[in-house]
């Protein structure tokens, strides 16, 4: 019922298609990519895309300074982007979501403690905080995921706490307690289903953000190693020859744009479609 309503929104549809493209590219990379992303063809350096003068049909989107196939690298790069996007956003969701529910549900000093921690955490600029974390944790893609989780859990925590508070006003939560439900059971059965649409929305927005953060850290060499095809690495590599071969810079940027746009449109659309609280409730009003 909800899913169909969500699909009716144009944002969800376009966002869903864009995300699906990135997903398919990432999952099926070994079969979709025409070349090995690391294979160098030193006789075909800095080729333009196939449709431009001088392009070759074997390299549909041209080659980079080492003669590597740009299309293949873009397709493989989707893997890194998705890996970070999914793990980081789920991690931030679990950490922030659990703390947000605990704070909103129990209230009192538990709430004060968690909320103050969030306030302090949020007072650090996110970019600085993530760079400091990367320096402390060390370079590597898994540390990128960890850094994003540690920076962005506050967003989940704060928004969900507010949502939990409104759900707690509902009598059905009290009714569940009176029927003998434990705290965990009450949160799981009565509170979580109500906050789930918001959670889903935040996760999809967070995925877009994670893609950008990973690309930034790749460009400055703090994420994957240089021999792993990632969009940020491609941008970094293309800087030397950006005047001779601007497509090497533009194409990974377009890939990032598509992925982020897809996640954001999906998140935005889901928010509009799912947040119309209890859409069925007014069906009867005359």
């Amino acid at each position: 019922m909800r899913a169909r309503a969500a699909w009716r929104s144009g944002r969800v549809r376009i966002g869903g298609i864009l995300v699906a493209i990135v997903l398919v590219a990432g999952i099926l990379a070994p079969w979709l990519a025409p070349h090995d992303p690391e294979a160098q063809d030193l006789l075909a350096l800095l080729l333009p895309p196939a449709w431009a003068p001088g392009g070759q049909a074997a390299f549909p989107l041209g080659t980079d300074t080492l003669g590597r196939c740009v299309l293949s690298r873009l397709i493989w790069g989707a893997r890194v982007a998705l890996y970070v996007a999914i793990l980081a956003s789920l991690g931030a969701m679990i950490l922030g979501g659990v703390l947000g529910h605990v704070a909103g549900y129990f209230g009192g000093w538990v709430d004060r403690l968690i909320s103050r921690a969030v306030d302090v955490w949020m007072s650090f600029p996110p970019v600085v905080l993530s760079l400091v974390l990367m320096v402390g944790l060390g370079v590597g893609i898994n540390n990128v995921v960890l850094a994003i989780i540690l920076v962005d859990w506050t967003r989940f925590c704060r928004v969900l706490r507010a949502d939990v508070l409104t759900v707690m006003n509902r009598d059905y939560v009290t009714a569940a307690r009176l029927a003998g439900f434990g705290h965990v059971q009450t949160i799981w059965r009565e509170v979580l289903p109500a906050t789930l649409p918001l959670l889903a929305t935040l996760v999809s927005l967070e995925m877009g953000m994670a893609v950008v953060v990973e690309a930034i850290l790749s460009v400055v060499g703090m994420s994957v190693e240089a021999n792993v095809p990632a969009w940020g690495v491609m941008i970094a590599d293309s800087r030397q020859a950006m005047y001779q071969a601007p497509w090497n810079l533009i194409l990974p940027m377009v890939a990032i744009l598509v992925a982020v746009l897809g996640f954001n449109l999906l998140g935005d659309g889901l928010r509009l479609a799912l947040d119309a609280r209890q859409s069925g409730a007014r069906a009867e009003a005359p």
Binding site: R170, Y172, A179, G180, F181, Q185, G280, A281, P286
Partner: protein, 616 residues
């Protein structure tokens, strides 16, 4: 002079391409200085008429036929600018939710000033003086101070007075009041109604009063139009309609509300509920026929609105017939022996610490002070009091949701503050609650069966879905609901059905005490009667005690053996229902009783007799 004249007005909704008339064949006349009452339950279309006048119909609704002549000019055909100029100036509105109608971020003075500026008072100083005078005219004390106040600092009744002052500020020809008292406390309601009639007299304004309360309308209005499912059922002078109702719907409405004096009688309950928009589209013939106790074959033809010998017009084929609708007197059973008490409350007090301020704290709030009472097995006790009198706090203490600051309370022998697991487990079968608002009390994401039997999977219990379904069927049968509703979601149920589910859930663990918090106050009279009859039947079949919190005295009188009157956290009166109602001792109980207009129009209604006596 006729102020407002409606002729064959049809308001229709566009329902997936089909045109469904929500108001049909509506004609009435409102003369200068008169009050016309539009009476009907929710879904009758009464608010649609107010909205049609204000040009505020919801999207996909439109006035498709007929004329609404205001001083001879048709509002429906009038262009938008001209109509907007009339609204708020010659036609004023008094809303149902006074708090929602005032902007919370501006002071009363600011909002009044804006309104007067729109009416064309140029000088700011003059506007301020006028605002003060208008507020004084609605008997608000210290208007100067009030102009600086924000809406949240005022009570609901004060907000409504401000809105009434604003409505009459332009000396309008017509005031449309849509349920102006529904959201207020009973004792305040009477004062607002009184103010409304006083303002009408001094300004010579005509009033269109939209209400669900037939008794109130009979007192206040010159004419009454009873609406059912968008069609006038009965229209004529208030006295004639109220004392000699000819339409079975009007009669059922009267017989469905419990009386405040005289013998207890069985409530006439209509089956089902008002047709929904969808059902309306398919309905043929008389719209009331599916629920009518006196239905005959002719009723498949739509009856015309005619004078059928009752000195007012009625839309019913059976109006002449001697309808077998007479009240059934209920003989009170043998007086209940007060058996061993199941609820014991001993000098319970509850104090909330005042909110923290810049330095130190605000003074403590005393919610309950030294409350003691007992409830016997199978006894129904009514708890009456204004909002803020501590009724809900008392309920929370009994349910173990809040701990009392002083005193002791126990239910079925278990202390309410005992935190041990066995005590908590035992409390589940000892006491349960039926909540006020079924909209908020039922999780919209769960099916009826899942909601009703949630106690069967709570804690360490593990019932299978089959067991739960079987239990749901038994309980639904007990509360008079068809078993096939077990797999519906709350949004698919009507208001009355939701409240039944609410009751069913509380009954699932077979508690010995039920706490019911205003469980019928949000419902229409005919649905309320169904539920009151149901509670009476369940009591006989299952046997449980009940603490029935309500501000509706007639309902309390109908249902309860004893009454407790709570005022500012103290029990000011308690005793057997009949005794308290016959000779109330506390001033508060007397004020509550007087706030309800007597059934017999010959008995004068003097809601403020006491205040007047005190003033004299």
């Amino acid at each position: 002079m006729t102020i407002l004249r409606a002729e064959r007005v049809v308001v229709a909704a566009d329902l997936e391409g089909a045109r469904v008339p929500v108001v049909r064949d509506l004609s009435f006349r409102l003369d200068e200085g008169k009050v016309l009452g539009l009476v009907g339950e929710s879904g009758a279309g009464k608010s649609m008429i107010g909205r049609a006048i204000a040009n505020l119909l919801p999207p996909r609704f439109a006035t498709v036929e007929g004329t609404l002549r205001f001083l001879g000019a048709d509002l429906v055909a009038m262009d938008a600018d001209k109509r907007r100029a009339l609204l708020g100036r010659d036609i004023a509105f008094i809303p149902q939710e006074p708090r929602a109608a005032l902007n919370p971020v501006y002071t009363i003075g600011h909002q009044f000033d804006e309104h007067l500026a729109r009416l064309g008072v140029a000088s700011g100083r003059e506007r301020r003086g006028l605002a003060r005078d208008h507020l004084a005219a609605v008997h608000l004390r210290d208007p100067e101070h009030l102009l600086e106040a924000y809406p949240h600092q005022l009570s609901g009744g004060m907000c409504q007075r401000v809105l009434i002052a604003m409505a009459f500020a332009s000396d309008p020809k017509l005031v449309v009041a849509d349920e102006p008292t529904t959201a207020l406390d009973v004792t305040i309601q009477a004062r607002i109604v009184d103010l409304l009639s006083e303002m009408r007299r001094t300004h010579g304004t005509s009033v269109l009063l939209i209400t669900h309360d037939l008794r109130l309308a009979a007192r206040v209005c010159d004419d009454i139009l009873v609406l059912y499912a968008g069609r006038p059922a009965e229209y004529g002078p208030a006295r004639a309609v109220f004392e000699r109702p000819a339409h079975p719907y009007t009669r059922c409405l009267q017989l469905a509300s419990p009386p405040l004096d005289g013998p207890r009688r069985k409530l006439q309950s209509l089956p089902e509920h008002m047709p929904t928009l969808r059902a309306l589209a398919a309905l043929q013939g008389c719209r009331f026929a599916p629920r009518c106790p006196t239905r005959i074959e002719t009723c498949s033809r739509e009856p015309a609105l005619l004078d059928r010998g009752h000195d007012h017009v009625v839309a019913c084929h059976r109006a002449e017939a001697d309808l077998a609708l007479s009240p059934e007197i209920e003989h009170p059973g043998p007086a209940r022996r007060i058996s061993a008490p199941v609820v014991k409350v001993e000098s319970v007090g509850k104090v909330y610490p005042g909110p923290r301020r810049w330095l130190g704290r605000a003074p403590d709030v005393v919610a309950l002070a030294d409350v003691s009472f007992e409830i016997g097995r199978d006894e129904f006790v009514g708890l009456v009091g204004e909002s803020g009198s501590g009724k809900s706090t008392l309920a929370k203490i009994l349910l173990g949701l809040e701990a009392p600051t002083t005193g002791k309370a126990s239910v079925a022998g278990i202390d309410v503050t005992d935190p041990s697991a066995t005590a908590r487990e035992a409390r589940i079968t000892a006491i349960q609650m039926v909540f006020q608002d079924p909209q908020s009390a039922l999780n919209p994401r769960r099916r009826v069966a899942d909601i009703v039997t949630q106690a069967m999977i709570a804690g360490r219990r593990r019932a299978s879905w089959e067991e739960r379904l079987a239990k749901t069927k038994t309980i639904l049968a007990e509360v008079g609901m068809p078993a096939d509703l077990a797999l519906r979601y709350p949004a698919e149920l009507s208001g009355g059905q939701r409240q039944r589910v609410n009751i069913a859930r509380a009954l699932c663990s077979a508690p010995s005490v039920l706490v019911a918090d205003e469980i019928v106050s949000g419902l229409d009279v005919s649905v309320q009667a169904q539920l009151l009859n149901l509670l009476g039947r369940l009591r006989a079949e299952l046997g449980f005690a009940m603490l029935f919190i309500s501000h509706d005295l007639s309902v309390v009188r109908h249902l309860c053996d004893r009454v407790l009157v709570l005022e500012k956290g103290r029990v000011v009166e308690s005793g057997p229902t009949e005794g308290v109602f016959a000779s109330p001792a506390s001033p508060y109980a007397r004020a509550l009783l007087r706030a309800v207009p007597p059934d017999d129009l010959a008995t004068p209604w003097r809601p403020f007799a006491e205040a007047e006596d005190a003033a004299a």
